[in-house]
Each structure stands twice: as structure tokens, then as C-alpha cells.
């Protein structure tokens, strides 16, 4: 056990149902979440990320495996005995209580003295900038305000770990961006470990210290945003985070040969294997047709995105590749559908990923 870990899951399995109908929401997941970090569990819906969060919160017990909090086994501790608080996707604010009463609830249940409950509640109201709303019922607040009450309520008892279950998914885009910054600020100010669950890769990339990518009940990769974006371990991670081109190739000395006969430079491969080569659209450079070592292609579509253009090209065997080109500040890139040209990659861009 590493003393730096706030939460640790060891070989956790969570199965629902019986016999043939049994579904493993978590299939042997082990993860270490460090003290004071903003850790994000990222994955599509049904990947098991919320189940893992609920195991840490104590709402579910694992079928097998262990959950540790600060080095102590809390696997079978009920949720009201765990120094962990949750911000729920639905917020789950108490409708019969005011904003201040909602925030004070956890402190009251912990039997804190009235003076401390009052001062902490006021501090929390200030932290989320809702002092003016203290006496309101939560139903009178906007979505963003409710979100902040939920945060303040969960932070008030000063949990060792704050769990956030897709808390921003109900907000509109602009508010979501604001809350992302707000959340990051709160995490830095309080120093509390945040475990954040989301299916939004952009949210994960911009907020997290480290990200755990999940799929089909398994943890696929854990690392910093940069690690995961630049060095995805497998096809799932590469395709789920950012946009990626995949090409099937056969390895040989010095690179991987595509079905078209062209050779792509990739490092660290054993020759003679069928592999998937992945590269990002922004790592593709378009050069004039016929340039030595470049892969010939034809433009099939151009999609304008303001700052850049997505250029869809077809290789000689019909395989489609997307290249992202920054638009020139003046004039035109001079591309047209049907134009023939050639592709080149930034050095080290293409890499072999597991399927």
C-alpha cells in the first residue's frame, strides 16, 4: 500500500444478475487514486465507471475485491460510515430544505456543534458564491445554482474524497465550461481528492490530473491527459479520446506496409505481423502528388470548422483518412474535392495500437 493513495481498488469485480444472465459491470479493476489529485474515470455509458464510483461511495458492495480508503479496508462499510461524499448526477438536493439547510445536513448528521455547523455552512456558501440564496428552497434555483449547492453540500463535511457522478451533464454548454473551471478551482482551493466520472473526453482532458479510461468493465489505461492522448495503448482508447485514423498494415523491417503497398514508419515492431496503425488527423501533412515516400491520395470531402478544415482523403485502395489542416489566416488553402495529392506524417506520429 502506497501512503500517497487516497483510494485504491484491488481486483474489484461487480456482477449483476445470476447464471447466464450475469453481467460483469466491473471485471477485475484495480486502480490507485493519489491524495489530492483530480482523477477522472472516463468511458462510454455502461462501461462500469459509475459502478466503480458507487463501490467507493458504498452504495454497492463488490462481488469480489477490495476498496481501500487512506489505506484502510472500507469494502463493506456502509455509506454513512465512510468519510466520502458524492455529487450526484441528479444533484439529489433535499426539496424540503433550504440551500443553507441542505449544506448543513451532513455536518448535523455528524453531530458537529451548532456554531461549527453555522460557520462551515457560511464558508461553503461563500465558496460557491451562493450567500444571497441561503434561505431559498432548492427548487427556486437554476440548474447551475443547484449544481453549486450539491457541490457545497458534499464538500461541507470535508470528506477525504469527493466523488462526482457526471455532475455537469445536465448543464448547457456555456454553463458546463464555467463549471469546469469552477470545479478545478474548488479542487485546488480545498485540496480534496476528486474522483470525477464523465463520458465527455474534452471534460476529462481539460480538468484532470490523471485519467482512467474504462470500457466494457475494464480499466483500459491510466495516465495524464497527455499520456493518453499521445500514447493510447489500444484502439479503444485511441478512438474514444480525440479523433484517430486507423490503418491495417503488415510490419516489416523499418515500418509497416499498408495494403496499398506504401510504407509507414513506425517504431518498435517485430516484422511479419498484421497490426493496426493509428495517427491523429492533425499529424497528417498534405504534400504534392508524387513526392518521394509520401502516400498518394485523393480528396473526397472538405469540412470547414472555422479555425481548421477536415480534409477527407481516400488512399489508392479506397481507405479513408482524415487530415486536419489549420486554415491560413488569409486567403485559401487551395484545396478542392477530387484533387490528387500525397500524405506524409509528422515523425513518430504513427504508432501501432492493440485492437
Amino acid at each position: 500500500m502506497n501512503a500517497q493513495n487516497a483510494v485504491e481498488a484491488r481486483n474489484t469485480v461487480k456482477a449483476f444478475g445470476q447464471g447466464d444472465a450475469q453481467v460483469r459491470a466491473l471485471n477485475d479493476v484495480s486502480v490507485e487514486i493519489r491524495k489530492g489529485e483530480f482523477f477522472t474515470l472516463l468511458g462510454p455509458s455502461g462501461c462500469g465507471k459509475t459502478t466503480l464510483l458507487r463501490l467507493i461511495a458504498g452504495f454497492e458492495m463488490p462481488t469480489s475485491g477490495t476498496i481501500l480508503l487512506d489505506g484502510q479496508d472500507i469494502t463493506y462499510l456502509p455509506p454513512n460510515k465512510r468519510p466520502v461524499n458524492t455529487v450526484f448526477q441528479s444533484y439529489a438536493l433535499f426539496p424540503h430544505l433550504t440551500v443553507a439547510q441542505n449544506i448543513a445536513f451532513g455536518l448535523q448528521m455528524l453531530d458537529k456543534p451548532a456554531a461549527e455547523v453555522k460557520s462551515t455552512t457560511e464558508k461553503m456558501l461563500a465558496l460557491v458564491k451562493l450567500e444571497a440564496m441561503a434561505g431559498r428552497k432548492t427548487s427556486q434555483l437554476s440548474g447551475g445554482q443547484q449544481q453549486r449547492v450539491a457541490l457545497a453540500r458534499a464538500l461541507a463535511p470535508q470528506p477525504k474524497v469527493l466523488l462526482l457522478d457526471e455532475p455537469l451533464s445536465a448543464l448547457d454548454l456555456k454553463l458546463r465550461k464555467e463549471m469546469q473551471i469552477e470545479l478545478k478551482r474548488l479542487q485546488t482551493e480545498t485540496g480534496i481528492t476528486f474522483v470525477f466520472v464523465t463520458h465527455d473526453q474534452e471534460e476529462a482532458l481539460t480538468m484532470s490530473d490523471r485519467i482512467g479510461v474504462m470500457s466494457a468493465g475494464k480499466l483500459q489505461q491510466v495516465g495524464t491527459a497527455k499520456d493518453i492522448y499521445t500514447r493510447p495503448v489500444n484502439r479503444f482508447v485511441a478512438s474514444f479520446i480525440g479523433e484517430t485514423n486507423f490503418l491495417t498494415a503488415t510490419t516489416e523491417a523499418g515500418g509497416a506496409r499498408l495494403a496499398t503497398g506504401d510504407l509507414i514508419e513506425v517504431a518498435g515492431t517485430t516484422p511479419g505481423q498484421r497490426v493496426t496503425v493509428a495517427f491523429r488527423p492533425e499529424q497528417v501533412r498534405l504534400v504534392t502528388a508524387g513526392e518521394a515516400g509520401a502516400i498518394p491520395a485523393t480528396i473526397t470531402n472538405l469540412v470547414y470548422f472555422g479555425t481548421d478544415t477536415h480534409c477527407h482523403v481516400a488512399l489508392n485502395d479506397g481507405t479513408e483518412v482524415v487530415a486536419r489542416l489549420q486554415n491560413p489566416s488569409t486567403g485559401d488553402a487551395g484545396l478542392a474535392i477530387g484533387q490528387t495529392l500525397a500524405l506524409r506524417f509528422a515523425p513518430g506520429a504513427a504508432q501501432v495500437v492493440e485492437d
Partner: protein, 302 residues
Amino acid sequence: MSQAEQAQVSRSVRNAWYLSTPALLILLVGAVGPLMIVLVYSFLLPGKYGNVEWGFSLDGWRGILFTKDIFDDTLVLADAHLTIFWRSIKLSLLTTVFTFLVGFPTAWFIATRTPKSRPIWLFLITIPFWTNLLIRTYAINEVIRTEGLLNTILMKLGLITTPLQIIYTDVAVFIGMVYVYLPLMVLPLFAAIDRFDMRLLEAGYDLYASRLQVLRRIILPIVKPGLIAGSILVFVPSLGAYVTPRVLGGGKQMMIGNFIELQFGQGRNWPLGAALSMLLLIVVTIALLVYVRYANREDANV
């Protein structure tokens, strides 16, 4: 607001009145009218063979608490009446509390079933309404009477040697009323629990509340409208119950309802019966006002 809009609004208001006219007429003829007659009767003189004689008198109202001594015509406090009032209030309160204690878990159980099986459970709750109240009450009588089902089984099992005297006691009336009014508590509680967001339970546990605290601080305050509605639906008819105390309480364990009936029957004192009816109405109204206000104020203090 434009003129056309205004015209549309006033038209829809007018239509609403037209639509509610039949109901309002029925209320006027069926409720307000008779009530006025009862009110007037309470200030008249009793007729010799029932009915009333036209002549103003407060004897009806005075008779609620006092009786005339047969020998010297002095007014003495009517203990028997007070016993009846006290029994009515006591049994009605007990019935309300007990139907809640039993009805709440029942309503919770139904509300937490799968949406598919929920109608079946609700349907089971409503089955007793299919049979006449009188018949159901006699069925209870059959169960608890001295040679009834309960005593027979208990004696066969050797648990008791002499039959339990339940029938014709307050306990019998209480059992009967709980049985009769339980669905009236369960249904509004179910409606309230059904709307209750179960995710709040997890929020409560997450914020260190024990199971009891979750019940007391989260569930009960939120389902309170259902509790208030259920209590009113049980308490009000309990207070005026007639059939149940008549069949299960025998002639002796009277409640206000039976006492009123007595005045219009054997007692031949219609003004007293009318005054008692008005009193019941007034007591219930005041009790409800106080209860609802108290319940709401408590809500603001939590």
C-alpha cells in the same frame, strides 16, 4: 392583453362555470340545504313522537353536556355523553395513528415494487371496497366473537383456555375501524411515496445519516402531504363512524355517530341529535384547521 385575448379568457372562465354547474347544484341541494335544515332543527323543540315542534329553544345545544335531573329539573353534567365523546376521540386518534403505523410500510412496499407489478398490489388494496361495509364488519365480527375463528384457533392451539372477550369492547371497535379505514391511509401515502425521489435516500446515507435519521429527516418531511391527507381521510370518518361501533361495539360501546342516531330514533330528541351533528362538524373543522396549520408550520421550522 388584446381584446380578442380578453374575450377568449372570459369565455373559458364562463365555460368552466357552465361545466361545474351540475356539481354545484348537487352540492347546493344535497349538502348545503340539509345542513341548513340540521342547523335550524338544533334550535327547535323536540316533538313528542320524534320530529320537531316549531319554537325556539337552546335545549338541544344544552343537552350536549347536561341532562335534566328527572326529579327536580336541575341541570347536571351528563357523564355518559362525555364518555361517548371521549371514546370517539380516543378511538379515532388511535385508529389514525395505527393505520399510519401499518399503512406506511405497506405504501412503501407498493411504491417500491416494479412498475409492472404495482397495479396488482394497488388493486389488492382496493378489493375490500367491492363489498358492502356492513358485510365486511360482520365478517370481522365472525372472526373475533367469543366462539369465532380467532378464539377457536387459539383454543385449539392450547394458547388460551377461556375465549378472549374482544367483541363488544373498545378493542373490537378499534380493530374494525383500522381494518375499514386502512386503505384510506395507504392510498394517499402511496401517492406521496410514489413521487418521492429514491435517490434522496442515497444522498442522505452519503451525508452520514443513519436509517432512522433518513426516515425522520428526509422521508417523513417529504411525504408529509400524503400523511396529512391520509390522516384526514381516516380521522374524520372515524369520528363519525356508525356501522363499526354498532356491530362490533354492541349497543353499549357507543360513539358519537351511534349517539346521534339514537336521538333521531329511540331518543326522540331531534334537536339534540341536530346539535350533536353540528358540534361534530364544528369540532372536525377546527381540528383540521389546527392540524393543517401546525403541520405546515413545522415544515417551515425543519
